[in-house]
Every structure is written in structure tokens, then in C-alpha cells.
Symmetry: C2
Subunit: 121 residues, 2 copies
């Protein structure tokens, strides 16, 4: 386990791809992930994991079955397990996530967007 | 479980006390806590919980047995379980924490700073 501090902005500046979460920290069986997002993701849900999304820079929409959440900088939203959702970034957005280790980015769906192995950053 | 977004700054503005964590979210058996800190806390550790500290505003020092971590805005540090630590805020600092539900703020120590029941915010 790292015993160094992490500067989020410095870590985000190392990321060159969209929709590719990287692991920035791990604790209590959970991971801190960061990702740059742009465009529309796919509809999916997670059977057993709630997902925390916090915007560090930019704006993120999270489409839900019955509403759309609009997150600005310093705002977070927790998507409960089993709830269908689709992240949408009209412009590039920097997002921090907090979820159990092993949570698959595309949840119940396998697609070309699925990332099986995440790298540390 | 809340299905509303949370604006961290708005939540911090509701806090009038130091060293009084409030629960801003809950997921997967973990809690998102926020607190305003000023002054020195006590040395303590947590037997079974790693603790995530992220600075939202201001600067936080975390004294460890062999070093001192200095966190500025947008920086986080994970204190591993069993590691003695003492948070120090020379000036007011706004901190977000991730830790398992039920984690006691003073860990292995009971003192007047111990908060048994945390309120939601």
C-alpha cells in the first residue's frame, strides 16, 4: 500500500486516453480510480457494487432510467447497485471514482469498452 | 440511499464545528465523511480500517511516526490501518474522508474528541 500522497491534477495530466480508469489508491477492499471521459458511454449496471462519481474538472451527465444527473466540479453522485446508468461527457471531464476492487467499468455488459485489467497511476 | 447529487462546498458551508465529521454519502459499507479541521488532533490509529484523507480547501498536515505528510487542495493520502497518525491544521481546512461505516474518529483512543454518533449532512 502506498504511503505517498497523491496529487490528483498531476495524476490526471498523465492520462492520454478516454474511458480508461486508472487506480490511484486502494483501501479497505475499495479502489480510488480516476479517468478522463469524453463522449457517451454505454448503458449498464453493476449487480453488487454502488459507484461513487465525483467531478474534479468539467461537467458530467449521468443518465438514469428516470432522470439525468448533472455534476459540476466538486459534486458527486452515488449510483446504487442494480440501477442502469450511462455517463455522458459533452466535453472532456475528469472524474474520480470510489468502488470495490474488481468492479468492472461496464458492469453487466461486455463490450469493446470493457477494461479487464486496470493499471495503477 | 440518497439518489441526489452532493455539492461538497454547499455541504461544508453548513458545518460550524471543527473535528466533527458528518456523513455525506454511503456505499458498499463505506462512508463519505466531511469535516472542517483546525488545530491539532490526537495521536491514534485504527486497528482495522485504512483512512483516506483528501483536502478540498486549505492545507492539512498528517503527522506519522517517521514523517509528516503535507496535503494541499486536491491531494489525498491513505493512512494504513495500525499506523499512528495525528492530523494537524494550522489554519482551517476542509477535508473529505472515505472509510468503513462505523470507523471511530479517534480510533483506539477514547477522549473528549471521540464522536460516537455522526450525523448526516
Amino acid at each position: 500500500m502506498t504511503t505517498q500522497k497523491v496529487n490528483l491534477i498531476e495524476k490526471f495530466e498523465l492520462i492520454n486516453e478516454y474511458w480508461q480508469p486508472r487506480i490511484a489508491g486502494e483501501l479497505n477492499g475499495q479502489q480510488i480510480k480516476i479517468a478522463k471521459l469524453k463522449g457517451e458511454f454505454i448503458w449498464h449496471h453493476h449487480d453488487n457494487e454502488d459507484e461513487f462519481f465525483m467531478v474534479i474538472k468539467g461537467n458530467l451527465k449521468i443518465a438514469l432510467p428516470d432522470q439525468e444527473i448533472n455534476l459540476g466540479e466538486g459534486e458527486f453522485f452515488i449510483v446504487p447497485r442494480m440501477v442502469e446508468h450511462k455517463p455522458i461527457a459533452d466535453e472532456e471531464v475528469w472524474v474520480m471514482m470510489f468502488e470495490p476492487t474488481g468492479t468492472l467499468n461496464t458492469g453487466n455488459i461486455r463490450s469493446e469498452l470493457t477494461k479487464e485489467e486496470l493499471e495503477n497511476i
